[in-house]
Symmetry: C2
Subunit: 146 residues, 2 copies
DNA sequence: AACTAGAACAGGAATGATTCTCATTTCAAC
DNA sequence: GTTGAAATGAGAATCATTCCTGTTCTAGTT
């Protein structure tokens, strides 16, 4: 398990005046162990003994700390993952329009550079302060194309 | 106003055994006249006299026909726009994380080509049938960065 | 080791965008 | 102009998410 992860998270939590409690740590561990974003329901199921209301509340707090962020796919559920600032891994998502599953993937660095250039240009052209980007590839996952 | 638009939509509707009624046409017109996706509430407000339940139901039907599609931003509202198949204009979105506003923009064709190449590669690598992509630039719009 | 004040928690109720229901109205074809 | 199916209108229902409230835990102090 990544030793620096909890230190980084603890620092961000205390930075906004919040404690890094056992329950919050357990959420972060589940997210760190999963290779893709999870729905709130999946997190509730995975963290037996943490009630739903606490899971939601802590996801909100972790979100304010910049530890966790929300991923929207094509279904009605919001998904959560550790933020790039914490994992150090910039990535994008494969979204299945059938079952709603979301999986991570990394884009080639050339493409990322093109996107960065585009973001700068948009700032200049439109007065929009571009901060980040989302690139989702939408289609049908291997499980659903049977 | 685009004369071919309604013909195209009518064809798609009858293709799935649905009528292209006055109310549905009025929704399509509002969407065609607006340079960006609209929330359901905005559509209800813009189409005075069409009740909310009908707006939602017709958006769902137009979605099945491939005429309209859903856009998710950063706030809790789903937005709707005419699909690329109907407008012929491939584009992406600028999303303000402050106010949630969504605006269209076109990416340079070189970037689009890189994304297409990437989508093909993903199909080969992972068995994911890539059908389309979403590229959103997230930041702060000019109105919100005062 | 107990005290205390504030934070976090547990459980359940409330919220609100979206979807569903069903009685009524419209439409298209005969 | 009748008829049967589809669309509409109004409101109720759904359900992921958020809020509320009383209780429990924690960190810092003596």
């Amino acid at each position: 398990m990544d030793q620096g992860l909890h230190g980084e998270v603890a620092g961000r939590m205390s930075g906004i005046g919040q404690r890094y409690t056992r329950g919050r740590r357990s959420l972060v561990e589940v997210l760190a162990d999963t290779p893709g974003p999870l729905t709130a329901a999946e997190l509730v199921a995975a963290s037996a003994s943490i009630p739903q209301s606490t899971v939601y509340r802590n996801l909100a707090v972790l979100g304010q700390a910049g530890v966790v962020h929300r991923v929207v796919g094509t279904d009605e559920f919001v998904r959560y993952e550790l933020s790039e600032a914490v994992t150090g891994r910039h990535h994008h998502h494969l979204v299945c329009r059938r079952c709603g599953a979301v999986e991570d993937f990394a884009a080639p660095s050339g493409l990322e550079r093109s996107v960065t250039t585009l973001m700068d240009a948009i700032g200049a052209d439109r007065g929009f302060r571009a901060e980040t980007h989302r690139l989702d590839v939408v289609g049908t996952c291997s499980g659903c194309s049977s």
